[in-house]
């Protein structure tokens, strides 16, 4: 993914960490089942299927059925990981996510693959940028957006051990390993990537890496910027948001998602009610035109320059 400037040279496909972690967990716990919609390849579950054929349930191209079957497997005491392209898993099966998973409260793990705009030129039908907004409305589902292979593996392990519905939003874009101040991954708790006093960038998933580069660029220009990796979208780490508002006085949110109703919306809700500060939101305005991933990122300000500009705007809006 060329839109992600390198903070480290080596890049990783988080789907590898996801699949290897799931296989390791399945070897230890016979309750773990993979449920897929003809998505074994895109979910990188070929090896899982080979090792655990009897625990691989492929329902074909049928997302509503896939999520319902997941809820039923949970009723039967299994721990289903329901994995498919995020765009179809969330949009096609939204009522199943609402009624069968969130409202019924089954112990179902949902894994949205190739999320955001990973499918680039395939267009808006295959982009999953509305999912933050939809999933935020289903508060019962913990939503985790890992930024690198470490967070991916941690999220999958945690999801397996946690009793309750979890959605893990994965990307297929190669990303570097994050270098963070906070070494641990704790669901529901933002990771501090770097510290600063003048503003805070709150990002998650693929955008954390770009945010870190933007912060480096601003630091060289004399602005000290904190970067928070808000890997857990729901429940939001409100304490970290409010601390950022109080201590840095300006916030920029960056998400590979719609600019409304997602991470930026959540941060704006929390700050406006408790600690009003300027909030600039970087994300996508709506359905996107045909374009490569790197083009669409750049065009919509999801670049070090675009984020740095948003930080300057936020800082300039500070009172006093």
């Amino acid at each position: 993914m060329s839109a992600l400037p390198a903070t480290a040279t080596e890049r990783f496909d988080c789907r590898k960490a996801w699949a290897e972690t799931l296989e390791a967990l399945a070897a230890e716990d016979e309750r773990i089942i993979a449920v897929v919609n003809d998505s074994i390849g895109s979910s990188n579950l070929g090896a899982f299927r080979d090792h655990f054929p009897e625990r691989t349930v492929n329902v074909g191209i049928a997302e509503q059925n896939m999520v319902g079957v997941g809820a039923g497997l949970a009723n039967g005491g299994r721990i289903p990981f329901v994995s498919g392209a995020a765009c179809f898993l969330t949009a096609r099966a939204l009522e199943q996510l609402k009624a069968d998973v969130a409202y019924a409260g089954f112990n179902v793990k949902l894994v949205g693959q190739s999320s955001g705009i990973a499918y680039g030129e395939l267009g808006a039908t295959h982009h999953s940028i509305e999912d933050y907004s939809w999933l935020r409305a289903l508060k019962q589902i913990t939503v985790i957006v890992p930024a690198d292979p470490f967070e991916t593996a941690e999220a999958v392990r945690w999801a397996a051990s946690h009793e309750g519905p979890v959605f893990i939003r994965l990307s297929r874009m190669p990303v570097p390993m994050l270098d963070a101040i906070d070494k641990d991954f704790v669901p529901g708790k933002a990771r501090r990537i770097c510290d600063g006093d003048d503003a805070t960038i709150i990002a998650n998933g693929t955008t954390v890496h770009i945010a870190a580069d933007a912060a480096g660029q601003l630091r060289a220009a004399g602005l000290s910027v904190r970067v928070l990796d808000m890997h857990t979208l729901t429940p939001l780490d409100e304490a970290a948001v409010l601390a950022a508002a109080e201590e840095t006085g300006a916030i920029v949110t960056v998400e590979e998602a719609l600019v409304t109703g997602g991470l930026g919306g959540a941060v704006a809700e929390v700050t406006s009610a408790n600690q009003p500060v300027p909030v600039e939101r970087v994300g996508f305005p709506g359905f996107l035109p045909t374009g490569s991933v790197s083009y669409l990122f750049e065009e919509n300000g999801l670049s070090p320059d675009g984020i740095a500009s948003a930080v300057r705007r936020a800082v300039s809006r500070k009172k006093g």
Binding site: G68, V69, G72, E95, D100, G105, F106
Partner: protein, 277 residues
């Protein structure tokens, strides 16, 4: 629940429970002036047969892993489901009085977090069948011997998610799964065939890889014989098309679409109570 009695006694018990369920379901609807009595009555004999003749369960252990599962996919028929669960001992009969009152555990559509014995939350149509399929697949994977039954309305079969589940169940030969279609031929506004026809429903399920049995959904003996029969050597999932009458048991309600969610006035309630004996 273990039922140790002769077949004729079981049929008598089912008949008695079905009558009790109809009377009480209708009373709840009358008192709250809300509900879906037409579908309650078309399903009452099927549900009574399951709870009082077929299902293996223990109301004291609603989460018993080896219990048979019943999924009420036509979740609007709470009058029938709640009276069956109360009569089966899942909760005190007195709780029925709270039906659809503010903060009642007896919501207009069933919620598993509110009540023991409810296997999954239903209400939007086309949800219960895929969930029941998942329960049955879990049993296949683990080798558990519980059985899974799901009841859908016939109009509900218009939802495409049912056919996704039907295809998967047929292809995977999920033989421990039984689908019962409450074939009363009426949906909310009109007949199923004039709305979006389902016939020939039996051929459709056969084409999807199911064994199909058609029966009179108010004949307790026929229901008991088919639903209670062991899986045996059957290699396919079983679809039972239960031909029923919407509003069954009350003369002025039978076969009238308006009783899908119609509610009785005082005179209608009294007449129904005179007929339901």
């Amino acid at each position: 629940m273990t039922i140790a009695m002769g077949n004729s006694d079981v049929i008598e018990l089912i008949k008695e429970k079905a009558l009790w369920m109809r009377r009480n379901a209708f009373r709840l609807v009358y008192e709250k002036q809300l509900g879906h009595p037409g579908g309650d009555f078309s399903a009452a004999d099927i549900v009574a047969t399951l709870y009082f003749g077929v299902l293996r369960f223990d109301p004291a252990q609603p989460d018993w892993p080896d219990r048979d599962r019943f999924v009420m996919s036509k979740g609007h028929a709470t009058g029938t489901l709640y009276t069956a669960l109360a009569a089966a001992g899942y909760f005190p009969v007195e709780l029925l009085e709270t039906y659809m009152r503010n903060h009642s555990r007896l919501n207009g559509h069933p919620n598993r977090n509110y009540l023991p014995g409810v296997e999954t939350n239903t209400g939007p149509l086309g949800h219960g069948f895929p969930v029941a399929l998942g329960i049955a697949i879990a049993g296949q994977i683990t080798g558990a011997d519980y059985r899974t039954y799901v009841l859908t309305g016939d109009g509900e079969q218009q939802e495409g998610s049912n056919w996704e589940a039907a295809m998967t169940a047929g292809n995977r030969k999920v033989r421990n799964l039984t689908l019962i279609v409450d074939r009363n031929r009426l949906q909310q506004g009109a007949g199923t065939e004039e709305t979006n026809g389902l016939d020939p429903l039996d051929d459709k399920y056969r084409a999807f890889g199911w064994e199909v049995v058609e029966l009179d959904g108010h004949d307790h003996k026929a229901l008991y014989d088919v639903l209670g029969a062991p899986v045996g050597s059957r290699e396919k999932p079983l679809c039972v098309i239960a031909n029923t009458v919407k509003g069954k048991g009350v003369s002025f309600m039978e076969n009238k679409a308006k009783w899908h969610h119609g509610v009785p006035n005082g005179a209608e309630f009294e007449q129904a109570m005179r007929e339901l004996v």
